[in-house]
């Protein structure tokens, strides 16, 4: 793997914008904010940048949105070797972006943000980190919606004699050749992992709580001549990116507008399954009983063929516990295993940072959200938490397209806010309760008609109360339009009480960028 490109930035006493996390979100923030001349630091708790794409290094890990689209508009990569890149290539891409835009000097790895408290008297965020305290005028949470591994509730593992792993904490030194492996889960990670494990393991037991609708990925290699073309004529790659984007936006029709359209997906999924699996009993076990789209629609070319292998068994039961050398299913079924891999996803609705961010009234985000579920204005700002911005905030997740597009939309919103602060001379901005409530009422009303609410399933899109606080109910285009500019009518703004000087001007001027990259428009459109 490429050496860490970010990491050495010193931790000042005070910074204008402090960004938590150096995944796609934090890196994009470093690029765009430094280009706009803002003083910033990015703190990353791990010793490398990359977030999702540093952590998810299990065999087969890759993205489910075509790489042409799942990458920054301001840093297109003509060199993708596959239509859907695998983790090492995406991780390398992020390193490359850090290098190309020379933002390593703003990123400090190995520093964890432990807590942040809004100091109303001084109008700053007092941030506690593992490397000391920092004051920040603006706090940006880019700590990732899917970064904290989740284990299924109530599953006890302490008496298990074998090895237990989570897909997002993969131990690459572990050789699965000839081992008996149990994979818990049949979600997005599991379907990438299982085909790879099945090739080498003696046996694979797939513990399935709920089956998924799976359609072909149509993974293909991008031939060298195409890559050369993209390199020479970037407009061609832009065109491809635009076409992929448009095609994916059409899928929103099915998710949001007409759930009945999802029958087409189901038909395609059934055909795919029938082609790969002849055994009707296995097919029946794998056929979901909810409308496609309600849970994430998965894409794979090799999952069903892997399940048809003689060394693979699907046990349609949730796991209750690991005991001795066995995995015990909800029906009492036992299967022996040397290694158990939890491909059980992440704490999507219970963000760890929320517990450590304390707002104006002395209450933590988690506390404020405990009754209402995660709520923000335009997925970005939260009443009671001045100058706090989210990248991938509440209700900005997607079932159909690239999260990088969302990150760039939210960055445009943040940049506009920072720009307004600078131009209009205020230091504090906080969304008004009424604006936040109206926004959420609208989002929830639109959500109520979507497949996620009506499809007859439960999913990680929903919080403990069954409220969907993760997904955006519409096109990404609509989200972009609604977050293009900050509407100050939705905010309460103020000057810093003591009139104290704001954070110093950028300590390091952004280095000159290659002309082509600098020319990319702020909106990151196509």
């Amino acid at each position: 793997m490429t050496p860490t490109s970010g990491g050495a930035a010193a931790l000042p006493e005070r910074v204008h914008v402090l960004v938590v996390g150096a995944g796609f979100g934090g890196i994009a923030a470093a690029v765009r904010l430094s280009q706009a001349g803002h003083d910033l630091r990015v703190l990353e708790k791990a010793d490398d940048v990359g977030g999702t794409w540093r952590d998810n290094s299990y065999p087969g890990a890759g993205c489910d949105v075509q790489s042409h689209l799942y990458s920054f508009s301001f840093a297109m990569n003509p060199d993708w070797t596959r239509s859907f890149s695998l983790q090492p290539e995406i991780h390398a891409y992020l390193h490359d972006v850090v290098r190309r835009f020379d933002v390593g000097r703003f990123i400090r790895c190995g520093v964890e943000v432990l807590g942040a408290r809004w100091d109303d008297a001084r109008s700053v965020w007092a941030v506690t980190t593992s490397a000391g305290d920092v004051l920040a005028d603006v706090l940006v949470n880019a700590s990732g919606p899917l970064s904290e591994p989740r284990l299924p509730d109530g599953v006890t593992t302490d008496t298990f004699t074998g090895t237990v792993m989570h897909t997002a904490r993969w131990d690459s030194s572990l050789d699965l050749t000839g081992r008996r492996v149990a994979v818990v889960g049949t979600g997005a990670s599991a379907i990438q992992l299982v085909p790879q494990v099945a090739k080498v393991a003696a046996s694979v037991t797939v513990m399935q709580r709920t089956p998924a609708w799976v359609i072909p990925r149509n993974q293909h290699r991008i031939p060298a001549w195409r890559r050369a073309l993209y390199r020479r004529v970037p407009a061609v790659q832009k065109g491809v990116r635009g076409a992929i984007y448009a095609g994916r936006e059409l899928m929103v029709l099915g998710f949001v507008g007409r759930p009945a359209l999802m029958r087409t997906v189901e038909l395609l999924s059934r055909r795919t399954m029938e082609k790969a699996i002849s055994d009707p009993h296995l097919r029946a076990v794998l056929t979901p009983r909810y409308r496609a789209g309600c849970k994430r629609i998965l894409i794979s070319d090799d999952f069903y063929p892997a399940l048809a292998r003689p060394n693979v068994e699907v046990v349609p039961q949730a796991v209750t516990r690991l005991e001795g050398d066995e995995v015990v299913g909800a029906g009492g079924t036992r299967r022996t295993a040397d290694v158990v891999v939890f491909a059980t996803g992440f704490e999507a609705t219970d963000l760890p940072v929320a517990r450590h961010v304390v707002g104006r009234a002395g209450r933590s985000l988690a506390d404020v959200w405990s009754g209402t579920g995660m709520q923000a204005l335009r997925g970005a700002t939260v009443t009671g938490f001045p100058n706090l911005f989210f990248l991938i905030g509440p209700n900005t997740g997607l079932g159909h397209s690239s999260m990088v597009h969302v990150i760039e939309s939210q960055l445009a919103y943040l940049l506009d806010a920072l720009d307004l602060m600078r131009r209009k001379g205020f230091d504090v901005m906080e969304p008004q309760q009424r604006a936040q409530d109206a926004w959420n009422a609208d989002v929830q009303e639109r959500l109520s008609m979507t497949i996620w609410a009506t499809g007859g399933c439960s999913s990680w899109y929903q919080d403990a109360q069954g409220r969907i606080s993760t997904l955006w109910p519409g096109t990404t285009w609509r989200l972009r339009r609604q977050t293009r500019r900050v509407d100050l009518g939705e905010y309460r703004t103020a000057r810093r009480a003591d009139g104290a000087a704001p954070a110093p001007a950028p300590s390091a001027q952004p280095a000159a960028q290659p002309a082509a990259e600098q020319a990319v428009a702020t909106q990151g459109g196509r």
Partner: protein
């Protein structure tokens, strides 16, 4: 089409493989609690262990059910056509019985169609295994010979008998014929052959898929074996209480087979005739099949304790 829940077989408590005499690996599933009476069930031509699913759901935890995939079927090892013989089926069943029926216990052993033929053949060729491992038998929808002659798959108005017979034999053993048909054609063909008109759409769809899941060369290999089958002499060796069961609309093994078998068995418990039902009795009449199993367990099962007492 979404099949009703009970078509999805219950999750086996354990899965193992046992090696048959020639080394072929036979996939075995065990359902139900240890300590409950053991019941071993053998499926028929072109089916698989999951074929017993509807019956297993009904038996629940009452019995410890052992179901296995015949060689070449389901998860068992695939074999060349030449290895599809009655002797091989006997060896497979023998290996399963020796591996899964606890010492001292004698199990109720049931077979559907070819699975029952394997049991009859085992009685003739492995009397010691029958004596040590089998307490009672269920012979469902089966025959012991003259299978092509008596099948009513192709209607045969008098003079065309020979033609009908040739067509039956050809249709059964041709590896590709079925797969060459369009989807609906397969369903019509399989339903006509294996089910009665009373079958519902789920049963039709399910049986079509089951039959098509069988590898064509396995289907062809065993078709040849079935065409030449003659186990008439072995029936008298099946000297355990035995219940016979068949559907009145069975075209593959019409009821006259079952009548003859019932008459020839040394310890016959009689014949259960299911009116209006076709060949796939465990699918079309799972309640009746489960009841038959229960009856045999209740009246004849021999636990280890009973033996030592």
């Amino acid at each position: 089409m979404r099949l009703p829940h009970d078509f999805v077989p219950p999750v086996p408590r354990t899965r193992t493989t046992v090696a048959s005499a020639d080394g072929t690996r036979i996939a075995v599933e065990v359902h139900g609690p240890d300590g409950a009476p053991t019941v071993v069930l053998g499926h028929g031509w072109t089916c698989s262990a999951g074929f017993w699913g509807r019956v297993l759901h009904r038996l629940g935890d009452e019995v410890r059910a052992v179901v296995y995939d015949q060689r070449g079927h389901g998860r068992s090892e695939h074999v060349p056509r030449g290895a599809c013989t009655t002797d091989a089926l006997v060896e497979d069943l023998e290996a399963v019985l020796l591996a899964t029926v606890p010492d001292g216990e004698r199990a109720v052993v049931g077979g559907h169609s070819m699975g029952a033929m394997a049991l009859v053949a085992l009685a003739g060729e492995r009397p010691a295994v029958l004596r040590d491992k089998v307490c009672a038998a269920l012979l469902a929808s089966t025959g012991v010979g003259r299978l092509v002659d008596e099948a009513r798959v192709v209607p045969h108005p008098g003079p065309l008998r020979a033609v009908a017979k040739a067509m039956t034999q050809r249709g059964m053993s041709d590896a590709r014929l079925l797969t060459m048909l369009p989807r609906w054609g397969r369903r019509v063909a399989v339903s006509h052959i294996t089910l009665s008109p009373a079958a519902d759409r789920h049963e039709r769809a399910y049986c079509t898929d089951v039959v098509l899941a069988c590898p064509p060369h396995t289907r062809a290999g065993f078709a040849r074996m079935l065409a030449g089958l003659d186990l008439g002499n072995h029936l008298k060796a099946l000297d355990v209480p035995a219940l016979v069961l068949c559907g009145t609309q069975d075209r593959l093994t019409p009821p006259r087979h079952s009548h003859r078998i019932t008459a020839a068995l040394p310890q016959s418990l009689g014949l259960v005739e299911l009116s209006g039902i076709g060949h796939m009795t465990p699918v079309q009449s799972p309640d009746a099949v489960a009841d038959a199993v229960r009856r045999l367990v209740r009246d004849h099962h021999v636990t280890a304790a009973t033996v030592t007492a």
